[in-house]
């Protein structure tokens, strides 16, 4: 695909020393450089990953035994809510925006993102939003405790922590909309000569689709939480039944945002995995065009299935059947992708470096998550399973083993390009295997708990669920601690290690491997010509 001959970017390295940008702290605050901003996004998301992870471990500690040991039930609810919000909006989404900032301009031969200052703003909106979420735990009444889905009537009743969460969501929404505008403009306007849309690496394509999804649905979420806000303080009754509103309507609006949102989280990961699988199979991606169409189809279909999250709210059978079939239909384009990845590996010259391990782990576990999603798509089953740990297991297979594993794959894949050093391969593989084993230990047993009827978001449980919960808690601590290996590996990789060549992976293709490692501060100031 990207067999690019390039006009050599000879003088770009020379620019690195130019002191025309502030040093020290001001460099980071005022930067408009896509690599600086990408790095900040990635560090921010890793920090939030650890914060959200600590909340998850507190939750799992409480669930180690039946009864109440560590936290009060109100605080437990705040933890589940903030864990969800922080992981989705603070960790996973910014991680992939970070990848986009770093890699999109390199991959399409652009010198930077289209709107540098907006890029800076969209990053710097994140820390205040994160601060709002985290500090809301310390205000009277505590943080939002209605679950990350923010269903009324709970959201209408809670204290000021809910207002802080709503405001944080507004800010996060602004940030991701601006980031998406930037990405779309960059892709449409700044591609190198000859880099047609259908020659773009799949990571660019997946981000293009994702960016459109973000622009389409984040404002809908903003509308929903604004309506909640006015219901709380300004006497409106959108969702307040006391004033003639309809709490169920919130769920419709929320999931009209929420279902595309889960694809916003996973689709960039599809792009990363596509490139990693192709590189370490030393083959071009099988069915490139069908991959592009499948991603676009998933994006479009994601708008048509929202009510499968709410089968039990009281819906006519006609509607339930429609949403059931539409949901199952999404398995078709998703299946196309899974088969294409498998076909790419088929008879490839495989090698199993850390990025490849995470990508293959992604394919395995994401498929498991996809299948449990199909199970939950069936109305008759969902009526039984909804709000149990089966649902928790399902979406962690897609969010953790899906989105997070693909982010790990991407991080290891591009670390040499970012830092100029090779990471510790052995440590990376240990990180993968520990993550893989402990992830399954944490979440696979939750399928059994859910089928047996253990409800989610409850700090206590019946005695017979104890064994599986203890396995899950031990797995969660193993998984959490394994991530410190990742942090250690990254820090040592930044500080030193074997020098990475411009193209550290034998099978890699694409313009990003034509610039030296580490990528100089300014790249592609003269655009390459792609033939």
């Amino acid at each position: 695909m990207n067999t690019a001959t390039t006009t050599v970017n000879g003088h770009s390295a020379g620019h690195e020393g130019h002191g025309h940008h502030p040093a020290g702290l001001m460099r980071w605050i005022t930067t408009t450089n896509h690599k600086d901003i990408g790095s900040m996004y990635l560090w921010f998301s890793f920090a939030m990953f650890l914060v959200g992870g600590c909340m998850a471990l507190t939750i799992r500690s409480e669930l180690f035994q039946p009864g109440l040991q560590l936290v009060r039930p109100e605080f437990f609810n705040q933890l589940t809510t903030l864990h969800g919000l922080i992981m989705v909006f603070g960790a996973i989404m910014p991680a992939f925006v970070g990848f986009a900032n770093w890699m999109l301009p390199l991959q399409i031969g652009a010198s930077d993102m289209a709107f540098g200052r907006m890029n800076n703003l969209s990053f710097w909106l994140l820390p205040p939003a994160a601060l709002l979420l985290v500090t809301s735990m310390f205000v009277p009444g505590g943080a939002a405790a209605a679950g990350w889905t923010l269903y009324p009537p709970l959201t209408i009743q809670q204290g000021m922590g809910m207002d802080m969460a709503i405001f944080a969501l507004h800010i996060l929404g602004f940030s991701s909309i601006m980031g998406s505008i930037n990405i779309i403009t960059t892709i449409f306007n700044l591609r190198a000569p000859g880099m047609t849309l259908m020659k773009m690496p799949l990571f660019c394509w997946t981000w293009l689709v994702t960016a459109f999804l973000v622009i389409a649905v984040m404002p809908v979420l903003a509308g929903a939480v604004t309506m909640t806000l006015t219901d709380r303080h300004f006497g409106t009754s959108f969702f307040s039944a006391a004033g003639g509103g309809d709490p169920v309507l919130f769920q419709h609006i929320f999931w009209f945002f929420g279902h595309p949102e889960v694809y916003i989280v996973i689709i960039p990961g599809f792009g990363v995995v596509s490139q990693v699988i192709s590189t370490f199979s030393r083959k071009p991606l099988f069915g490139y065009a069908s991959m592009v169409y499948a991603v676009a189809a998933i994006g479009i279909l994601s708008f048509t299935v929202w009510a499968h999250h709410m089968y039990t709210v009281g819906m006519p059978v006609t509607a339930q059947l429609y949403f059931m079939y539409a949901t199952m239909f999404i398995a078709v384009p998703t299946g196309v992708k899974i088969f294409n990845w498998t076909a790419t590996m088929w008879r490839g010259s495989l090698s199993f470096e850390t990025p490849m391990l995470f990508a293959i782990g992604f394919i395995f576990l994401f498929t498991v998550g996809g299948f449990s999603g199909l199970v939950l798509a069936m109305v008759v089953v969902d009526v039984q399973m909804q709000d149990t740990y089966y649902v928790v297991a399902h979406f962690h297979y897609t969010m953790v083993a899906g989105a997070l594993f693909s982010a790990f794959a991407g991080a290891y894949y591009w670390l040499p390009k970012w830092t100029g050093h090779m990471y510790n391969e052995k440590l990376g593989q240990v990180h993968f295997w520990l993550s893989f084993i402990f992830f399954n230990m944490t979440f696979f047993v939750q399928h059994f708990l859910g089928i047996a009827g253990m409800p989610r978001r409850i700090p206590d449980y019946a005695l017979q669920f104890t064994d599986f919960n203890q396995i899950s808690t031990i797995g969660a601590f193993g998984f959490g601690l394994s991530q410190l290996l990742f942090l250690y590996n990254i820090i040592t990789c930044i500080k030193g290690g074997p020098k990475a060549p411009a193209k550290p992976w034998e099978g890699a293709e694409g313009l990003e491997w034509d610039v030296p490692s580490p990528a100089p501060y300014h790249t592609w100031e003269v655009q390459p010509v792609v033939k």
């Binding site: 809908v220 979420l221 509308g223 604004t226 309507l249 609006i253 006609t318």
Partner: protein
């Protein structure tokens, strides 16, 4: 799209109305297709006690039902004595041909009834008149007679059999 979020508020009821899928709150209980609504049969209730100090009466003397329709009626019985008394109700039908088309699903006559001194009790009968009921039968009389069950006092002579008694069910 922010405005679209707000537009969804009025939009959802409209879309549901247009597509005819807004059935929540509408009675969607299954319709009994076995009811023959073209016919009406009058069911009369007759109550007797045989040598007992009980009063026994239906709450409604008669009603009209469609064949196939599930109907519940209530009877009231009172023990006027100052000792507990056990009784058993025996049903009979007129015309006798109606008996095989009169399906009782629930009846106080299925069990012995023991009433405490002075106790008043309301008891249900749930029945369906079979739609195979011959066309010429327009009125069914259901007659119950309470007999005291032997135990507290010796049974009377078998004068009860003078009635055309047919065991129910």
């Amino acid at each position: 799209m922010f405005g679209f979020g707000y537009a969804l508020i009025p939009l959802y009821p409209v879309v549901c109305g247009v597509l005819g899928i807004n059935q929540t709150g509408v009675d969607d209980r299954p319709v009994n297709t076995q009811v023959d609504s073209s016919r009406l049969v009058t069911v009369e209730f007759d109550t007797n006690v045989h040598n007992m100090a009980w009063t026994f009466k239906p709450l409604a003397g008669h009603l009209s039902v469609h064949p196939g329709e599930l109907v519940q009626v209530m009877f009231e019985v009172t023990n006027t004595r100052d000792v507990p008394v056990t009784g058993q109700a025996i049903p009979s039908y007129g015309p006798p041909l109606a008996a095989e088309h009169f399906r009782k699903l629930e009846c106080f006559c299925f069990n012995k009834q023991t009433l405490a001194p002075g106790e008043r009790r309301q008891m249900p009968v749930v029945f369906v008149v079979d739609s195979a009921l011959p066309k010429e039968i327009a009125t069914i009389t259901l007659s119950y007679t309470f007999f005291e069950v032997e135990g507290n006092r010796r049974a009377e002579s078998s004068s009860g059999s003078a009635h055309n008694v047919k065991e129910g069910v």
